[in-house]
Amino acid sequence: MSEMWINMGPQHPMTHGLWNLRVKIDGEMILDVDPEMGYLHRGIEKISEDRHYNEVITLMDRCCYVAGFSWEHLYILGAEEALHVEPPERAEYLRVLCDEFQRIGSHLMWYAAFVQDIGLMSPFLYGMRDRDLVLDLFQSYTGARMTYEYMRVGGVRNDVPPGFTDSARKVLDWLTARFPEYDQLCLGSTIFRERCDELGILKAADCVKHGVTGPMLRSAGVKRDLRKDRPYSAYDRLEFDVAVADAADVTARYLVRMEEMRQSVRILRQVLDWLDRHPGPVLADHLPRWLGAPYAPIGNEGYLLKRNYPKGVGFSAIEEPHGEALAYVVNDGGEHPYRVKFRSPVFANISAARQYLVGYHVADIPPIMGSVDVCVGEVDR
């Protein structure tokens, strides 16, 4: 058979989102790939320039829809630096709580999507089932399952309800008991190992060269985790290990993500203990009313006044479930951010697609791209 290009997407079961992978194949072999993004480009960076600082949080939830909290956190850190605001300590722990539960939720969603890519049907349901438990927790203190609008410049919107820590511990216990089950369904299956071992290899040098970060980088043996290397919020006060693997293949990425979920459980237990012992305010009290208000009072007189904040730029970097996410917030003293620039980890991970796809079979595309964990919302923004 001669060479031909096939379009995988934008509507294709492999993509898990709205993008197009153009693949040049010869029979079943991949000769070249060309990812085509932008089908979900919503202009978040541009809209942010028309919004107040707290209103951008709404967009951040929808930027990466499986890791809304992480992106809220990312933006808030940048905005706080640009606006020179310090959050109270309890708010920082609450943010870590959100982040780590979000990491578990995101990885469970990844697990559900990934196992479906290699044809495992039941674990998809198991992953979604356990993710719903995490979302129930989110719902109990933010009121929403996916789009929270919970963090605020200078803290978080509200404290967790009474009894939250106990129910959170129950969920953690349940999840801890489920992890061996997941492993057995995947690693315990010979077919899984046959399919995923030595597949989609991207060595550490290539990862760094092509900007690949997150679990993909750690699966290549590089121990880079911004929670350790450049601690933000309360991560410098928490104990955890960075999950790494050596093989740099799909199985290694699976192992890294599974280990990250276990480490998240470990972090969360510490955070929950801390929250039990240290009650306190969750929103900085020296904020002007419009910035500190729990609910943005649209139409309020004071809200519309021109603010003269000290000029500044904010730069934040967090370890999102997918990798290294950066935010660059420029504050020119007005009421809107002058420019917001986000760096999405999946953006860079997809841009290296040629490096880890060429040379494998067409049937390998779903597991490899599944192991990249594509979230198109944050790629296209």
Binding site: H12, L18, I47, Y65, V66, Y126, M128, R145, T147
Partner: protein
């Protein structure tokens, strides 16, 4: 029905000779009269009337009382949505097929090929870049087909309606049957939208 038979019978004087049985027809001498015409002549009075009566019977009685309700029952109980995810709502769309909500209880099974679908759930923000692909997918779906605009973005652009790249509502592109509010709608809301669509199909009149 009328054209060949009517012309030839008009050429002959009607009623000039009585119709005879098939065995007595002078086939050899009247070789110019084709067999089909004889059949038509003999059935001339009966067929149109019977057809008319039957069709009206089917149209009025069967169609309304039997056929349409049966097919509407089948159509509304087996909605195959297109398996695609646009944005945030796609995650809730997936959650609706998860263990807790299990949309398959209602016979809703996502199919990957638009040829096998009869329901397009637009679950997310539609950009101008994907607009023509969406229309193509819609046109690839065979009739009868329905569209559900899931979430605020598909309904009217949602929080991104001012953006330069976003279609403010998918009803600018394809006809929408059911709108589901929410950003994103919960899986219950999506199931409710599907049940609303089932009510629409129940009352379908074509």
């Amino acid at each position: 029905m009328t054209t060949p038979a009517a012309q030839t019978s008009a050429a002959k004087p009607a009623g000039a000779e009585p119709y005879r049985l098939e065995g007595e027809l002078p086939m050899a001498t009247q070789a110019a009269v084709p067999f089909i015409e004889i059949e038509t002549l003999r059935a001339r009075e009966f067929i149109p009337a019977a057809r008319e009566a039957l069709s009206s019977l089917i149209a009025e009685q069967g169609q309304a009382k039997v056929i349409r309700p049966v097919f509407n029952w089948a159509g509304r109980n087996s909605l195959f949505p297109l398996h695609w995810g646009l944005a945030c709502c796609a995650i809730e769309f997936a959650a609706a097929f998860g263990a807790r909500w299990d949309a398959e209880r209602f016979g809703v099974v996502p199919r990957s090929s638009p040829r096998q679908c009869d329901l397009m759930i637009v679950n997310g923000t539609v950009t101008w870049k994907v607009a023509h692909k969406l229309i193509t997918l819609y046109e690839q779906m065979p009739e009868p087909k329905w569209v559900i605009a899931m979430g605020n973005c598909a309904t009217g652009g949602g929080p991104f309606r001012t953006a330069y790249s976003v279609v403010p509502g998918v009803d600018k592109l394809v006809p929408v049957d059911v709108y589901i509010a929410g950003c994103p709608p919960r899986p219950e809301a999506m199931l409710d939208g599907i049940l609303k669509l089932e009510e629409l199909i129940r009352e379908r009149k074509e």
